[in-house]
């Protein structure tokens, strides 16, 4: 029995959130002499910079400084992985909206006014705007990743049935409610402290040091909380921190740079949109025999994390299915658009959605319920259980989850009811889809799977906790605090959660890949265990028992039928000159991957889930509503079921938004025209499925040795949203009266209506349903 972990404990900041007292970067007390920064953005999509004139901006009263890339004292390249990402445009602009000049002024309105007075002259260069064009022109950021097993082409050629097709899956703006923000303050010795809304303080620290031409020990980065991250503040917070730091260096004043919503959406990268091309061979039961898939992701103008994102798309293109002969290729396309970046799922959703779509196509071709095709191809437990990257799936619980959800969602009866409804309803059509999630946990870049923590116990028995995990709403602070409280057997109110700081724990990885609680929980537990061991010796002496007999629980140390308060033990330890501080460290064991051979075990374990979503479509307009959704998601032995339920529900809705209403729209000049909530629509309260039933899988501890046998939960549930998109496809099939339909994502009302129309037209010109098959 545990006292604190596995309990539905509220988010540590909840009372502050509701009272407006939880501070974000722009809410912090402003240091004396603070300057405010603003950016001048490129007005061209791809062009050589001929001249930059900041004189009018500098002439505006209140303007203190204007910098270009030439004013960066150190190395201006702030790329996280592959070099080539200057802090401000260098020589040329590569997308519409790229920051060119930064201004510092005495107040924000003045800075923003001055930024608009900067004059840049350009010589236009030809831009590449689409993925297809990038593929055609071989415009790539990085070499492709290929996975290969057997001979896919031969298997497809030999297969009884074949399908070939193409699918477009749109990108997604993070739309964290708090935009990017940093506040840099100069200190002694050329040091700087940067308060930044970032998922990756250590990288911000490294890049600020780089642009200032100094060492990491001169830079401290702090993040208490973010107003949402979702991957958007993994690498891309650094640019604004660096600009603030350079302006602070130049002016010798504190500088705050907070982006306006439109600027944020124009400048920062998004979820990669993908163009997928597939060919699949299968038998009459829908079993896949050969699969050849190319996943082309739009990296935009710079690499950022695109290599790893496309890798993860490739790793998840198996979705949950056994693919005997398979070739999967991932392309990193370079275009003159914003540099796309991490976003919850990190490519995994695009790979998974593609194959779920292909499964659906196989079912339509054969005239079967897609559910049957899913079950026919599902990874086996003892056979047919090796991924295309040769990792054996040893912890598969999908067969059980399918059974559970089929029963709890009453799938089969509802399937019949929906067919009956559609037969008698001429204008409204329903659709239903049930899809699985299998998501690999670990950074695929193996060395990133490490974490550190610092636990400080004070002699009064109170504890300060610090670790590399950053809090963006997902609850990593409370989860790790629960782990530490459990380890010491003390109540949570004895633990003070402190801001993530690079001067407390060094060289941390980003809070990303769903791994925040897994990694930092283990590191904090390791630190706490060291201290507990020392305390056990002290308590043992106090209680007249051996140290290994001492039990820490209920804010007490107990042994031999006697107890002493935890605070008394810590006080005694202090008097006896026992150290009450420890740092903990964790590195995920047993993982490795060799890119060249495409083989390895990149993931420590998998997290699973299943969802069934039902949609109702108005076939006059393509408008729709989700009438019911049933979700079943696996969190292992959840560290905090209340927090995890929030991740599951929120992830599903975010996934649903990505695949349905959230549409990024660039005009023919390469300008993003959906850069504010007036034009870019994320779900609202009404978009929640009317009948929403969400369960966490119970009674299934993680077989892998994770912290209290829990599972990572940040990203996997997002992919439960795929069921909503395919429910719409199911309704389109019913509306079109033909099984040959095509539905790209996002499936906006427009795409749904035009998909129905296109299918009707095609059915009229092609005599049978099957004509396009083979």
């Amino acid at each position: 029995m545990t006292a604190v972990v596995h309990k539905p404990i509220r988010h540590d900041s909840a009372p502050k959130h509701v009272a407006g007292t939880a501070r974000y970067i722009d809410d912090l007390p402003e240091p004396e002499g603070l300057l405010h920064a603003a950016l001048h953005l490129s007005e061209r999509t791809h062009a050589k910079i001929l001249s930059i004139d900041v004189s009018a901006a500098l002439a505006l009263p209140g303007v203190i400084a204007a910098i270009t890339v030439d004013d960066v004292p150190g190395d201006p390249d702030i790329a996280p992985v592959v070099r080539g990402e200057p802090m401000l445009a260098k020589g040329a602009v590569e997308f519409h909206g790229q920051p060119v000049v930064a201004i510092a002024a005495i107040d924000l309105p003045t800075a923003r006014r001055a930024a608009r007075l900067v004059k840049v002259t350009y010589e236009d260069l030809p831009p590449i705007l689409s993925i297809a064009e990038a593929i055609e022109k071989q415009s790539f950021l990085l070499p492709p990743l290929g996975l290969k097993r057997g001979d896919a082409a031969a298997a497809i050629a030999k297969a009884p049935h074949r399908l070939k097709g193409e699918l477009n899956i749109g990108g997604q703006d993070h739309f964290y409610l708090e935009g990017q923000a940093s506040l840099a303050e100069p200190r002694e010795d050329g040091d700087v402290i940067v308060r930044c809304s970032t998922q990756h303080p250590s990288e911000v620290q490294k890049l600020v040091a780089r642009v200032l031409g100094t060492s990491m020990h001169s830079v401290t980065v702090e993040c208490r909380r973010m107003g949402g991250g979702f991957g958007g503040k993994e690498t891309q917070a650094a640019q604004f921190a660096c600009i603030a730091a350079v302006l602070a260096r130049k002016t010798a004043k504190p500088v705050k740079l907070r982006l306006d919503r439109d600027e944020d959406m124009i400048i920062t990268g998004k979820r990669h949109d993908f163009l997928s091309r597939y060919e699949v061979g299968f038998d009459s039961d829908g079993r896949i025999l050969g699969y050849d898939l190319t996943l082309a992701g739009r990296g935009g103008w710079a690499a950022d994390l695109t290599g790893a994102v496309v890798d993860r798309a490739v790793f998840h293109a198996d979705s949950s299915y056994w693919l005997p002969d398979v070739t999967i290729t991932g392309l990193c396309c370079k275009t003159n658009t914003v540099s796309n970046t991490a976003f919850r799922g990190f490519g995994g959703p695009q790979g998974m959605a593609t194959t779920e779509y292909v499964i659906d196509e196989i079912a339509r071709y054969l005239g079967r319920d897609p559910l049957e095709i899913r079950l026919a191809n599902l990874y086996g437990k003892d056979a047919n259980n090796v991924t295309p990257y040769f990792q054996t799936v040893t912890d598969n619980i999908l067969p059980e989850l399918f059974d559970e959800l089929l029963a709890s969602s009453d799938y089969k009866r509802r399937r019949q009811e929906i067919d009956a409804f559609n037969a008698q309803s001429p204008y409204l059509k329903k659709g239903l889809a049930l899809t699985p999630v299998k998501f690999g946990i670990s950074f695929t870049t193996t060395f990133l799977n490490q974490a550190g923590a610092l636990v400080l116990v004070y002699e009064d028995g109170s504890v300060q906790l610090n670790h590399g995990g950053t809090e963006m709403g997902q609850g990593v602070y409370i989860k790790v605090a629960q782990v530490v409280a459990e380890t010491f057997g003390i109540s949570l109110d004895k633990i003070r959660i402190t801001a993530t700081r690079t001067d407390k724990v060094p060289n941390t990885s980003a809070t990303a890949a769903s791994a925040g609680a897994d990694l930092n929980g283990k590191a904090a537990q390791a630190a706490a265990l060291q201290i507990r061991e020392r305390l056990a010796a002290v308590a043992g002496a106090m209680l007249g028992a051996a140290p290994d007999q001492v039990v820490f629980a209920n804010d007490q140390a107990s042994a031999a039928g006697r107890s002493v308060a935890f605070a008394e033990v810590t006080h005694k330890a202090w008097l006896e000159r026992v150290s009450l501080a420890a740092s903990g460290f964790y590195a995920t064991p047993d993982i490795h991957f060799d890119r060249a051979s495409g083989r390895g075990r990149p993931f420590y374990y998998f997290a699973y889930g299943v969802a069934a979503t039902e949609a109702l479509v108005d076939t006059f307009t393509g408008e729709y509503r989700f009438t019911r959704a049933d979700l079943l998601h696996d969190c292992g032995s959840s560290l905090n079921p209340a927090i995890d339920l929030g991740q599951v529900e929120g992830g599903y809705i975010q996934g649903l938004g990505w695949l349905t209403m959230e549409e990024l729209w660039w005009d023919d000049k390469g300008r993003l025209r959906t850069h504010a909530p007036s034009t870019y629509k994320i779900p609202t309260a009404r978009d929640l499925p009317e009948d929403f039933r969400v369960q966490l899988v119970s009674g299934r501890a993680n077989p892998a040795n994770t912290v209290f046998r829990s599972k990572a939960v940040g990203e996997p549930p997002l992919m439960l949203g795929i069921s909503g998109w395919l429910a719409l496809k199911d309704a389109v099939v019913a509306a079109a009266g033909t099984r040959q339909v095509h539905l790209d994502a996002p499936a906006t009302p427009e795409r749904v209506l035009l998909a129905i129309e296109a299918a009707k037209q095609k059915a009229m010109t092609i005599p049978t349903d099957m004509a396009a098959g083979t």
């Binding site: 964290y176 409610l177 107003g227 709403g473 529900e649 025209r673 959906t674």
Partner: protein, 485 residues
Amino acid sequence: MSEPVRFVSRGQVVTVAPDVPHTMTVLEYLRMRLRRTGSKEGCAEGDCGACTVVVAEATPDGKLRHRAVNACILFVHQLDGKALFTVDDLADGEHLHPVQQAVVDTHASQCGFCTPGFVMSLFGYFKTHDKADASSLKDALAGNLCRCTGYRPILDAGAKMYEAGRDDRFAPQEAALVKQLSGLARERMLDHSTPEGSFLAPRTADELAELLHNLPLGDNWMLAGGTDVGLWVTKQHRVPRSLVYLGRVTELQRITDHGDTIEIGAGVTYTDAFGAIDTLHPAFARMVRRLGSTQIRNSGTIGGNIANGSPIGDSMPALIALGARLKLQSKAGTREMPLEDFFLAYRKTALQPGEFVASVTVRKPDRTSRVGIYKLSKRFDQDISAVLAAFHITLDSDTVTSARLAFGGMAGTPTRAKKAEGLLTGRRFTPDEIEPAVAALADDFTPMSDMRASAAYRLLAAQNLLRKFCVEVSSGKTITAEAAE
């Protein structure tokens, strides 16, 4: 002569510093001047709700009327004579307000950045509803975006906040607040000027006419709810010489039922006009419930929606289909015109210098009338329409005796489909016989492609909406994927 702006906060009368410019928003004032940072900026355009505050006004019958509004597009000077509640004001020390406690108890905050706005929208709801019901709660929260939770727990909080009843610590002080507010009522027009410009709030239509007579258009803007003008300031970075606020002009706030027509003053907010609109036609009310959000409808006015000449104002096609007539007023007197004649071109109207929109008058549909109003957008709530179709036909048996088909989103102005109207009139209103009219919409309109919709979709959807209207009229049933209310 410059006068200070006064409003009530935390039981105290706050006098706004004389140097606060006329274009400073309430959010900027709170965050930058007072450094009360509970209210957040998420978008600065009234679309995300993170800045939501509640403004209370004394009504003529001596009650308090609480309204949730977006502080990011509300100018400080619009608070004159009102009471302001922000998220910083709700808790009593450590003791959370029932609304706040419910949000904590239902795990309804994750990153917390949107939370202050949700708390204030819920507070506005709490102050105006006896209990929570799912549909109106979703209406109340449609203007608040959350990216973390998926909303289920927030909706649960809306129900849970009533567990201890409706009273809160503000309830006992309401009578005193009404009295305090009546003490702030002005005898004369508010005129507050700084070197940057002026904020002018006339109290009567004559005062307004006189004022506009002396102000050249262009640099001087009329301000009603600010749901559009606010964005000219926050997004387009424009600074008017003066803002002439219509919210205090008594005559513009009236709704008059003349029996067979209803006259709605130009300054009436959508929230206040809702009853009148519902009287005109329930389909109109259904559409208005989706127009903007609660915060936008609490600020935005029908007159403002008309006068700004936007091609995408959702009410315009509905009003045109219903045959609305506009009353324009100036120092020289008043004149009337059919609403559709008011729109000359994209963002260009028939409004003359010195003139303002006084009211709009709409004839109530009679027994022979059939009305259908359809809003089409990517998202159900708070989304600008790709197409707005408003149909009003009269029938003799099943033969069309008159037809008014008005569309938004299909051209540079809200426009009638004259050719299609001609092809409907005199024919039977059946799915087969309307097809020539449906086809004629392609002659009436050449829509454009933009981020909201492609030209092809706009045209096809417009045609299908006419088909849908016909099916609905013939069958007497509504066909919709929307949730039942």
